[in-house]
């Protein structure tokens, strides 16, 4: 009896003070049926309001365009990247210490084109199913890469052998449960070791409408590596590829960092001019094909994905070559560092 009266009061209260200060939250109602009904009603109301607002916005925009005025400014949606927590380690463009640090770091000789990258790819001791396919695709993506079987060598010994043979980087693909799931990139001679977690691997043959990669040296696109740590990882990835991209080959490899996940994509592109009135003409192959004669045409780039697709996440960055026991870490992820959902490190 008392409970029913309470419910009625609450419901009544909800209707009464609809525009007032106190609103009964659905979570305060104990009865599940009633609670779900109230919640559904609230959601429906919110949906109607949202649709009304959207329609009003569209109408205002159309009216403005018809009248020839400026359409009202579109509001910027709030995203996690927009509201990212302020990070003081973000690289500033005028930081001379950054440039000095860059000159002094382990990749500067490759990035200054003094030496060419030579990559050694190997695996963990047990390798099966998707591993070899992934490795063969990596061999086609990264120029000047060599694959050696792992055997039972210690990783530290492999590092030594690679140094003797003048390799500049060592990539170890680690497999777990018949799937490659970790990537260790070790810079040589005493470069840092980056340990990445690998996920969402899609092989070349599984990509829809895939293209076939050529052997031109690809262009490299590194997006969004803003902080100091990100910058260092970006340079490390850059040191895997030769620094003389062949633009005529129209081949691009992208490492896109978003929310600490690095997405790897491999595309071939072509420039086409899309014309609204005239017929379609295929664009030239060069990048500077923007100066097309057709007046109405917009030049767009069409992409064709080829090669594997995967995401990486940095687990730790170790100073020096691979040495878990005696090594010191430049960056290691600790759970106490995740203080907020808007904090990212790369």
């Amino acid at each position: 009896m008392g409970a029913k009266r309470k419910k009625r009061e609450e419901v009544g209260g909800d209707d009464e003070v609809a525009g007032g200060k106190k609103q009964i939250l659905p979570s305060m109602i104990k009865n599940k049926d009633k609670r779900s009904a109230v919640h559904a009603k609230l959601k429906h109301q919110k949906k109607i309001e949202k649709r009304k607002k959207a329609k009003a916005r569209e109408a205002a925009e159309k009216r403005a365009l018809e009248l020839g005025e400026e359409p009202p400014v579109k509001a910027i949606p709030r995203t996690i990247e927009n509201t990212r927590e302020f990070d003081e380690t973000v690289c500033k463009p005028d930081d001379e210490e950054l440039f000095a640090g860059n000159d002094a770091d382990e990749f500067s000789s490759i990035l200054n084109r003094k030496s060419d990258p030579k990559i050694l790819i190997t695996t963990c001791r047990f390798n099966s199913t998707r591993g070899p396919a992934f490795i063969s695709e990596l061999l086609s993506v990264i120029p000047n890469a060599h694959y050696y079987k792992r055997g039972t060598y210690d990783l530290k010994k492999i590092v030594e052998y690679a140094k003797i043979k003048d390799f500049t980087s060592l990539i170890v693909v680690h497999t777990n449960r018949r799937e490659p799931d970790a990537l260790l990139i070790i810079g040589l001679p005493d470069g840092p070791t980056a340990h990445f977690k690998l996920s969402k691997l899609v092989l070349h043959k599984d990509v829809k409408n895939h293209g076939n990669p050529t052997s031109h040296i690809p262009e490299l696109v590194l997006n969004n590596f803003t902080t100091r740590l990100g910058h260092r990882i970006g340079r490390m990835i850059q040191s895997l590829f030769p620094q003389a991209p062949n633009f005529r080959g129209r081949r691009v490899v992208t490492f896109h960092n978003q929310r600490d996940f690095i997405f790897f994509r491999h595309h071939r592109y072509i420039f086409e001019s899309k014309e609204s009135k005239q017929g379609d003409t295929k664009g030239n192959k060069d990048k500077d094909a923007k100066g097309e004669k057709s007046s109405q045409g917009k030049v767009v780039a069409r992409l064709q994905e080829c090669g594997p697709r995967f995401t990486l996440k940095l687990i730790n960055l170790q100073h020096g070559t691979f040495d878990t026991k005696g090594g010191e870490y430049e960056w290691v992820h600790k759970p106490e560092m995740d203080t907020s959902r808007r904090r990212f490190f790369l």
């Binding site: 380690t89 210490e97 640090g101 026991k325 005696g326 090594g327 010191e328 290691v332 560092m337």
Partner: protein
């Protein structure tokens, strides 16, 4: 509203710390006001140059005429004035017939605090130790004219270890004994007056599996200022060991800490607490009487800790490391007081303890300091007469000196001005 939580860092008491990094820069960080001051980088000395990476540093922060000695890569040792970064002296540690400086980098450096009180020139003693084990003790004279000072008056070099690399060296509180340890080198204690090795450690016996961990000490410190017999050493296999010279050659207490090598150890003034920092950024305090871990310092440190410094008076420690942050921690609560981002991987940190905050009206200060600036170089000896505390100065600087010279106390100022006039 998005879920964000920012840790409110309580401020620091007034402190001044100097950090040294891999590009050879010395950065001065100060926290100003009494409570709740945010440390900021006040000064930066040196040009970024990776061939001048700073490997070791030692400060002699007496009240009058403090000195800072730093050892750079390539065997170069410099003595600077920690107030304004001016180099007083620079010596090269390269021995003529010795190994290449690239192989034999300096690992430890200590600037002795006791020195001959001589007004016209002061001689200081420096103990340096290199990775191949060449320890050398040299006295240098610092004359008043900063530009060229005569270098090593006397030096004594001896070899500390036959084989292996020295990775850590420390001098005890009374400056009579020094210890050295490293990879393949058991910890040795040497008597500096006589230049003899008085004690060597013995490694613990094989464990139950018959495995023998190779000797690899990565850091060491004496436990208290007065007692040279007890010291703590951290190893590469994440073990912390307490040795007592008067008891036995094997470690008295030994325990494991996490999983990465212990890269830095610092002692507290009470003689039994130590702070250890390891290769993955964990900082903890341990009571060495029992070997019990008192607690860890949680504060998002993500890089290896290279050096820990304890403030001589305030309950504050500073830690710096490869993640380029300098963090100040409160000892009692084990919380971060604040963290400063310093852009380069840091190798060492020292505290400058004679820093006190005082609000002094600037109008009174300005005229005497103008005169004082020009006389400062010659007056450095007269200042020894009365102890001075460095205070915050808000006046503009005159002359061509790049950093602002610190203001002396008013009483001393008047006296020095009187002396000069």
């Amino acid at each position: 509203m998005p879920r964000t939580s920012t840790l409110e860092c309580p401020g620091c008491p007034p402190i001044r710390a100097l950090t040294f990094d891999v590009l050879g820069l010395v950065k001065v960080t100060e926290a100003r006001s009494k409570e709740g001051g945010i440390p900021k980088v006040v000064d930066r000395w040196g040009e970024p140059d990776s061939s001048k990476c700073i490997l070791a540093a030692s400060i002699d922060d007496r009240k009058s005429g403090p000195l800072l000695a730093i050892a750079r890569e390539g065997g170069l040792i410099e003595i600077l004035n920690p107030l304004n970064g001016h180099p007083c002296l620079s010596i090269s540690n390269i021995i003529d017939n010795g190994p290449e400086p690239g192989d034999d980098a300096i690992v430890g450096l200590h600037l002795f605090k006791k020195q001959n009180l001589d007004l016209s020139s002061r001689s200081h003693t420096l103990l340096t130790c290199t990775t191949k084990g060449n320890a050398s003790m040299r006295s240098v004279e610092l004359t008043s004219s900063h530009a060229d000072s005569t270098s090593s008056v006397s030096s004594r070099t001896w070899n500390v270890c036959a084989s292996g690399n020295i990775l850590c060296s420390q001098v005890d509180g009374n400056e009579n004994y020094a210890l050295f340890g490293g990879k393949g080198v058991e910890v040795n204690v040497w008597d500096l007056e006589q230049g003899t090795k008085i004690w060597t450690a013995k490694s613990p016996p094989k464990n139950s599996l018959g495995l023998f961990t190779p000797t690899w000490f990565t850091s060491a410190t004496f436990l208290s200022k007065d007692d040279h017999r007890k010291f703590v050493a951290g190893t590469n296999s994440h073990q912390v060991r307490l040795y007592d010279i008067s008891a036995q050659r094997r470690p008295v207490i030994s325990f494991d800490f996490r999983e990465t090598p212990i890269k830095a150890v610092a002692e507290d003034q009470d003689g039994y607490t130590i702070y250890i920092g390891n290769g993955s950024g964990d900082l903890a305090s341990v009571d060495m009487r029992t070997g019990k871990l008192l607690g860890c310092f949680l504060g998002k440190c993500s890089g290896s800790i290279r050096s820990i410094a304890r403030h001589p008076e305030l309950p504050v420690i500073a830690s710096c490391g490869l993640d380029s942050y300098l963090r100040f921690w409160d000892i009692k609560t084990r919380k971060v007081l604040s963290a400063v981002f310093l852009k380069q991987p840091l190798t060492n940190v020292v505290f400058d303890s004679n820093f006190a905050e005082e609000e002094v009206p600037s109008s009174v200060v300005d005229p005497p300091t103008e005169a004082q600036n020009t006389n400062e170089t010659q007056e450095s000896d007269e200042e020894e007469v009365q102890p001075l505390k460095r205070k915050k100065k808000s006046s503009k600087h005159s002359g061509s000196k790049k950093p602002k010279p610190k203001k002396r106390s008013k009483k001393a100022q008047d006296e020095t001005v009187d002396d000069s006039s």
